[in-house]
């Protein structure tokens, strides 16, 4: 029920269909490109605030969202660009939100820490680490009470697993057997603290045992393995109740734009850069003959184009009207 060797791509479980695989490749490329563009905008002083990049962690987000059905809901993290793109958020409106524009998915009022798109089944990102876990449980309760056939996927980080909300949420979901997958993206850091220092267990998925629910880990840099694990997790949630899936990966970038990584070994960062999940998926697709170089190049180009287009859209969009500051406080 708890510790098992991290799940990597296996032939025991079904593989994603080809179109899913290609979409995953596209969305991972879009995510990477979105963030590289966003980082540039910071350097150019075109955005204020901060951003949290998931570069190198794309498989842990998109491997999951690709395994969902359209009616499923996600709750994203503050490092959620991949999760949001994967769940089908319009990239133009995401970029516009990042730039604080009126056309942004939150009308420019939430910014990149609060990107949400309820119409796409994305209940949002949260600025409060761990706050999303009980909220996701509420959405799963809603699913039960409304007798809907859907699951809720709640993303959170290794650091968030130390918040009290993690415990309360998993316990509540476990006794009510709610259809929710707790999806821990273990990128090995909670800001500057290494997972080895902030928890006293070698594998975060053992925490499932405290709630009597299934928990296991997957190689979070292997998009296909994540997809397989997420399919299984979704099925467990739908039919039995909650489970805890940990996608083990690594945070390549600093925590946020103001982080200079002084607390860790640059060599390790380089090692993980070499394990790029996008390159890995590309190689796997080529190896298996599921896609050609040309096809994949075209998808990369399309990703680039989509982001450029989104940026152009966002830049051309108007700022919110001054009065927008005062609306939406109450319904």
């Amino acid at each position: 029920m708890s510790t098992q060797p991290p799940h990597t791509t296996t032939t025991d479980a079904p593989l994603p269909p080809r179109d899913t695989l290609l979409r995953m490749f596209l969305q991972m490329s879009q995510t990477r490109c979105f963030e590289e563009t966003a980082a540039r905008l910071f350097t150019q002083g075109k955005v204020h605030g901060t951003a949290h990049f998931c570069i190198g962690e794309e498989a842990a987000g998109i491997g999951v969202t690709a395994a969902l059905e359209p009616q499923d809901l996600i709750y994203a993290t503050h490092r959620g660009h991949g999760q949001s793109i994967g769940k089908g958020m319009e990239i133009r409106r995401m970029m516009a939100e990042f730039l604080g524009k009126a056309t942004g998915v939150c009308k420019g009022k939430g910014g990149c820490m609060h990107i949400a798109d309820l119409s796409a089944g994305n209940l949002g990102a949260n600025g409060i680490v761990g706050a999303q876990l009980p909220i996701a449980v509420g959405a799963a309760l809603s699913t039960r009470l409304q007798k809907l056939d859907r699951v809720v996927i709640c993303f959170f980080g290794d650091g968030a697993s130390n918040e009290g909300t993690f415990h309360e949420a998993l316990n509540l979901a476990s006794i009510w057997k709610l259809p929710v997958v707790f999806l821990c993206v273990n990128n090995q850091y909670g800001m500057s603290m290494h997972v080895g220092d902030h928890v006293n267990v070698p594998d975060l998925s053992v925490r499932a045992a405290a709630y009597g629910i299934p928990g296991w880990s997957a190689d979070g840099n292997d998009a296909v393995a994540v997809w397989q694990a997420a399919r299984r997790a979704r099925e467990i949630a739908r039919t039995q109740g909650p489970c805890l899936l940990v996608a083990n990966t690594y945070r390549i970038m600093g925590h946020s734009k103001s982080d200079n990584n002084a607390y860790r070994d640059k060599a390790v960062i380089e090692q993980w850069k070499a394990r790029c999940p996008i390159k890995r998926l590309r190689a796997w697709l080529l190896e298996r003959g599921l896609a050609s170089e040309q096809e994949l190049d075209a998808l990369s180009a399309r990703a680039r184009h989509d982001i450029d287009d989104a940026l152009a859209f966002a830049e051309a969009s108007p700022d919110p009207e001054p009065a927008a500051a005062f609306t939406d406080v109450y319904a």
């Binding site: 939150c106 209940l123 706050a131 449980v137 319904a331």
Partner: protein, 326 residues
């Protein structure tokens, strides 16, 4: 008209809204078989079953967060936080999630949830079970805050709160649970944001709410009988949004204002009331300083005599009224 207790009125409101709207459900600690720590939800489990009347573990943050998630996905949760003091254990869910999600998400979602929470001292439960925590949550845009003083209002305001698309904190008054009052049998609501004038008067104004209303009325009667002065007593009923017009109009009319609440004075909601009065045109009609008579700036002590001594009493209110007339 029939009379029922404040607790019964709340139970009726809950039951009627549960019957009316399948999206409404109710959860909290010991609310089902036990019927709630104060017995408010007794019997609801039998009628509505365990899916809609849900006992939760002792996990306030999960209760509040789950309410937010349910409210964002089509339901209208009502939750009970057993003592209002314990909103401290789910403060983030209340103040950063329930209150702000709609705004931060650009209006994408409503947040129709109600937090019922018994407030106030007088039960011998000491510092962590006796607070009047409204000031903690009245500076949080996105929340509404209600504090009914009668069975009639408790029922009507709770029904309005449940039908409201925003998060409403419904501060029940523990010591009022057993008080009785007239409550219509037909469906009605009391709109949020409207004060009620409980006593007309032209010499001074008392601004108050919750269980202090009764004491203020008693003090006002005493003042009328003994001093021939007529105090107007305004029961605010809703703190956020505040019925500023009613407050200002009464202050303007009488020119003398006493603010009474049970919560500690410093940083209490009475400050907001004083600011509304002293910052409005009513200022020009004031004949005396705007006075506050509030709870002492102490936690609530256990010993019953001490406990009674740290909140306004009919005596101390009457004295303050007299003082204000000088």
């Amino acid at each position: 008209m029939r009379e029922i207790t404040y607790a019964q009125a709340i139970r009726e409101a809950l039951a009627e809204e549960l019957r009316r709207d399948p999206a409404v459900f109710f959860m909290g600690e010991d609310v089902a078989a036990y019927g709630g720590a104060f017995g408010v939800s007794a019997g609801l489990l039998a009628e509505f079953g365990p899916e809609r009347i849900r006992d939760t573990p002792i996990s306030e943050a999960a209760i509040m967060g789950a309410a937010v998630g349910a409210a964002m996905t089509g339901l209208r949760p009502v939750v009970e936080i057993m003592f209002s003091d314990f909103v401290s254990c789910c403060f983030d869910g209340l103040c950063n999630q329930a209150a702000k999600t709609r705004y931060m998400f650009g209006g994408q979602t409503a947040m129709p949830l109600v937090v019922r929470a018994p407030a106030g001292s007088g039960t011998g439960a000491a510092g962590q079970h006796s607070q009047s925590p409204e000031a903690w949550i009245c500076n949080v845009p996105g929340l509404k805050v209600v504090a009914p003083s009668t069975p009639h209002d408790a029922k009507g305001l709770l029904k309005a709160a449940i039908r409201d698309d925003n998060p409403v904190v419904f501060l029940e008054q523990k010591l009022l649970y057993r008080t009785k009052g007239e409550v219509p049998e037909a469906d009605y609501t009391v709109p949020l944001g409207q004060a009620a004038c409980r006593r007309d008067g032209r010499h001074l104004t008392v601004l108050t709410y919750g269980r202090m209303v009764a004491r203020c009325l008693e003090a006002a009667e005493r003042l009328a009988a003994e001093d021939g002065a007529e105090a107007e007593v305004l029961d605010l009923r809703t703190l956020v949004p505040l019925d500023r017009e009613a407050v200002i109009a009464s202050a303007r009319k009488t020119g003398r204002v006493l603010i009474v609440h049970e919560a500690c004075q410093t940083g209490g909601f009475g400050g907001e009331l004083a600011a509304v009065v002293a910052g409005s045109d009513a200022f020009f009609y004031l004949d005396a300083p705007v006075r506050r008579l509030c709870g002492a700036d102490t936690p609530i002590p256990y010993n019953p005599t001490l406990e009674a001594s740290v909140v306004p009493t009919t005596d101390s209110i009457a004295a303050a009224l007299r003082d204000l007339l000088r």
